[in-house]
C-alpha cells in the first residue's frame, strides 16, 4: 500500500484580507475571554442588536448565533441540538437556539468556546424565537436581559413614529448597560464608532458588489466566512482596514481577470437564506462542480449598515431582512439579481428559520418573475444536520443548472 502524501497548504499571507479577517474573528472571542478573566462583565449579543452600543461603551460581547454557526460547521450541531432536546426543547425550534441553550448548560464545546455571560442583549428585528431563547438564558443564569423590540415593518419606509419608538429603546438599553457595567456613554466615542462601522460597511458592500463583474472576482461562499467579522466586529478599526483590503483584492482580481472561484464560472446564481453550515462543503461543491458560482446573497449584504446619525442608526436596524415588508425585501433582491447578472435562484428552505423560509415561496416566485430566472429550493437547516438530504439537494441543483443551460441556448 502506497503511503498517503498529504498536500501541504501554502502558508497564509499575513497581509491578505482572508488572514486578517480570520484573525479578527478569532480575536473577538479571545478579547471576550480576556475581559472576563480581568473581571469585566461580558455579554451575549444578538447578531442584529446595534453593535454600536456595546462598542461605544467599551463592552466585550460574544455572539451566540456566530458561535452556533461555528459549532455546526465544525460538526457539533447534532450533539448540542440533541442535548437541548433532552432538556425538553422541541426539535422544531431554531437550531442556533438549541445549540446555544445546550452550551449554556454544558459550558464547553471544543468546536467554539466562549465565556459565559453576565448579561444578554436581545433584539428581535431578526426573529422572535430569539426573545424566548434569551429570556431562558437570563432566567437560568439569573442575569439581566436587555431587550430591544424592533417590530416587523409592513411599510416601505421607516416612519418617524417607528424611529422614535426604537430611539427610546436604544437610549434605555444604553442607560441599563451603564448601570449594569459601570461604563459611560460618550458621544465623542459614538461618533468614532459610527465612522468606523460606516467604513467597514461601505467597503463590505462595495466588495460584495464586485459580483457585477463577469466573471465574479470571488466565490460567493467566501462571503459566508468573511461576514462573521461584519456580524461581530464591524465597529472595530481592524475590521474596517480588513474590509478595505478585501475590496482592494477583489478589484485587483477583476483587473487581472482572476477569481477565488476555483472553477470556470458557467452560471451565476443568488443564494437565498442562511447558509447550511453543517453541510457547507456539500452545498458549496454541489455548485462549484457544475460551474455554478453563488455570486450574491442578501444574507451577506444584510450586515452592512450605513447611516449618518443616531436616528439613521435606528432606521438602519429596522431595515434588516426579516424586519422589512415583502415588497422592499423583494426589490432589494431583484436589484442584486439584476446588478450581478444572476441566472438562477437557489432557496434554502431552512427548517430553523420559519419566518425567513415562510415568506420565501411567494417572494421567490416574484423574484423569478421579475428577473425571468428559474427558482429551485431545497430543504436544510442552518445548524441541525438532520434536516438535509444530499441526494435531494443534488437533484434540485442539477435541475436548476439544466434550466439555466437551456436558457443560454442549450448544450
Amino acid at each position: 500500500m502506497s503511503e498517503e502524501v498529504k498536500k501541504q497548504r501554502p502558508a497564509p499571507d499575513p497581509n491578505s484580507a482572508k488572514f486578517k479577517l480570520g484573525q479578527i474573528a478569532a480575536k473577538a472571542y479571545s478579547d471576550c475571554v480576556e475581559a472576563k478573566a480581568r473581571g469585566e462583565k461580558v455579554g451575549w449579543c444578538a447578531s442584529n442588536f446595534p453593535v454600536e452600543i456595546p462598542e461605544t461603551l467599551g463592552l466585550h460581547v460574544c455572539y451566540p448565533e456566530n458561535q452556533a454557526a461555528a459549532i455546526a460547521a465544525r460538526g457539533g450541531g447534532e450533539r448540542l441540538c440533541s442535548e437541548s432536546e433532552g432538556e425538553g426543547y422541541s426539535n422544531d425550534i431554531c437550531a442556533y437556539a438549541r445549540i446555544s441553550l445546550a452550551y449554556m448548560k454544558l459550558k464547553d464545546a471544543p468546536e467554539q468556546n466562549m465565556p459565559q455571560p453576565d448579561f444578554v442583549l436581545c433584539c428581535n428585528n431578526i426573529c422572535n424565537c430569539m426573545i424566548k431563547w434569551y429570556e431562558n438564558i437570563a432566567k437560568e443564569l439569573d442575569i439581566p436581559m436587555i431587550m430591544i423590540d424592533i417590530p416587523f415593518n409592513p411599510d416601505y419606509e421607516v416612519s418617524e413614529a417607528q424611529t422614535a419608538y426604537i430611539r427610546a429603546q436604544f437610549w434605555d438599553a444604553i442607560h441599563q448597560l451603564e448601570q449594569i457595567t459601570g461604563k459611560k456613554w460618550s458621544e465623542e466615542r459614538f461618533q468614532e464608532v459610527k465612522k468606523i462601522s460606516g467604513r467597514s460597511s461601505r467597503a463590505w458592500l462595495e466588495a460584495t458588489a464586485c459580483a457585477k463583474h463577469n466573471p465574479s472576482p470571488f466565490n460567493g461562499f467566501d462571503l459566508l466566512n468573511h461576514m462573521a467579522v461584519m456580524v461581530t466586529a464591524r465597529a472595530k478599526k481592524e475590521a474596517a482596514d480588513a474590509m478595505e483590503t478585501l475590496l482592494k483584492e477583489y478589484k485587483e482580481n477583476h483587473e487581472k481577470g482572476v477569481s477565488t472561484f476555483r472553477a470556470e464560472e458557467k452560471y451565476r446564481i443568488m443564494f437565498e437564506g442562511i447558509a447550511c453550515w453543517p453541510w457547507l462543503r456539500v452545498t458549496s461543491s454541489g455548485l462549484k462542480d457544475r460551474g455554478i458560482n453563488m455570486v450574491t446573497t442578501i444574507y451577506a449584504d444584510a450586515f452592512g449598515f450605513i447611516y449618518d446619525d443616531f436616528d439613521g442608526m435606528c432606521r438602519a436596524y429596522s431595515r434588516v431582512p426579516n424586519a422589512m415588508c415583502l415588497e422592499l425585501a423583494r426589490d432589494k433582491r431583484v436589484k442584486l439579481c439584476k446588478d450581478d447578472h444572476v441566472e438562477g435562484l437557489l432557496v434554502h428552505t431552512n427548517r430553523s428559520c420559519k419566518l425567513w423560509s415562510g415568506f420565501m415561496p411567494e417572494m421567490s416566485r416574484q423574484i423569478g418573475k421579475a428577473c425571468g430566472i428559474p427558482v429551485a429550493s431545497f430543504d436544510g437547516d442552518q445548524a441541525d444536520p438532520r434536516n438535509f438530504s444530499a441526494a435531494q439537494y443534488d437533484t434540485r441543483v442539477q435541475g436548476l443548472m439544466e434550466i439555466m443551460e437551456e436558457n443560454k441556448g442549450g448544450n
Binding site: T349, F388, G410
Partner: protein, 256 residues
C-alpha cells in the same frame, strides 16, 4: 441509432431503448433499485425484448436518484429534465407535468419547445408520494394495484391528513377501528396525495395540457382526485412510470 435511458429510482429501475430519437423499441420496469440487480435486470430485459446487444447501443444516459451510481453510462441527467422530455415526446402539447414517484413528487412547467422552464419538488418528507401509498396499502392489506378499484367504490371519502405519513398511518388505523369502510378510506388516502401534489402544481402555475407521470400516475384514484383538486383534465398513459427512462434515452440521442 439506438440510445438507452436508465432511470434508477427510489423503488424501481426502469430502462427504455429508443431508435433515432423517435421510436420506442423496448422498455422495462423492475421493482429493485440501487445496490441490487434491478438496473442490470432492466437493461437485460430491454436488450432481450429488442434483440439488440450492448454493442448496438450508441449512447446511454442515466437518471433518477441512483444516476451517479451507474458506471457504464455516457452521462447522467436529472430526472426533472428527463420527465419533461419523456412527457413532451408522448404529449407534445404538455405544459405542466406532475410526476409522483416512489419518494418524491415534482411539478414541472414546460415551455413551448417542451423544455423545463421551472419546477418545484416536495419537501424532505415523503408524505404525498408513492411511499405514502405503499404504507397505506400495507395497513389495509391491499395490493397497491387494488387502491384505484377500492377508491372507485367510495361513497363518503374519509378525511386523511397529508402532513406526515406516520400521522396519516395512525389516522387510518383509528378510522379502521371506528368502522370507516375501506373504499372510503382509500379514496381519502388518494385525495390526501392529490391535494399535496395540487399545492405544488399551484405554486409552479397550472397550464394545460396537464400530464401525469411516475408510478403513481397508474393509480386512477389519485389521478381523478388530482383532476378534482385542480379542476383540469389530466392526461396520462400506460408508459407513465417510464417517462424518466424515456427522457434519458431521448437526451442520450440529443447528446450523441
Amino acid at each position: 441509432m439506438f440510445t438507452l435511458g436508465i432511470d434508477i429510482g427510489s423503488t424501481t429501475s426502469k430502462a427504455v431503448i429508443v431508435k433515432d430519437g423517435r421510436e420506442i423499441v423496448a422498455s422495462s420496469v423492475v421493482i429493485a433499485t440501487v445496490g441490487t440487480d434491478g438496473v442490470s435486470d432492466a437493461i437485460e430485459n430491454v436488450l432481450g425484448e429488442s434483440g439488440l446487444e450492448h454493442g448496438d447501443i450508441s449512447v446511454t444516459f442515466a437518471t433518477g436518484y441512483g444516476r451517479q451510481t451507474y458506471p457504464d453510462a455516457d452521462g447522467q441527467v436529472s430526472e426533472l429534465t428527463c420527465h419533461a422530455l419523456g412527457v413532451h415526446h408522448v404529449f407534445p402539447d404538455a405544459r405542466t407535468v406532475i410526476d409522483i414517484g416512489g419518494q418524491d413528487a415534482k411539478v414541472l412547467a414546460l415551455n413551448e419547445r417542451g423544455r423545463m422552464a421551472n419546477f418545484v419538488m416536495n419537501d424532505k418528507c415523503a408524505a404525498g408520494t408513492g411511499r405514502f401509498l405503499d404504507v397505506m396499502a400495507n395497513i389495509l392489506k391491499l395490493d397497491i394495484s387494488q387502491l384505484e378499484v377500492e377508491a372507485a367504490k367510495a361513497l363518503h371519502p374519509a378525511g386523511i391528513s397529508n402532513t406526515c405519513t406516520v400521522f396519516a398511518e395512525s389516522e387510518v388505523i383509528s378510522q379502521l377501528a371506528a368502522g370507516t369502510k375501506i373504499p372510503d378510506l382509500v379514496a381519502g388516502i388518494c385525495k390526501s396525495v392529490a391535494s399535496r401534489a395540487a399545492s405544488l402544481a399551484k405554486r409552479v402555475g397550472v397550464r394545460e395540457t396537464v400530464c401525469m407521470s411516475g408510478g403513481v400516475a397508474r393509480n386512477a384514484g389519485v389521478r381523478k382526485a388530482l383532476e378534482q383538486e385542480l379542476n383540469v383534465n389530466i392526461a396520462s398513459c400506460d408508459m407513465a412510470q417510464l417517462m424518466g427512462a424515456l427522457g434519458a434515452s431521448l437526451y442520450a440521442y440529443e447528446k450523441a
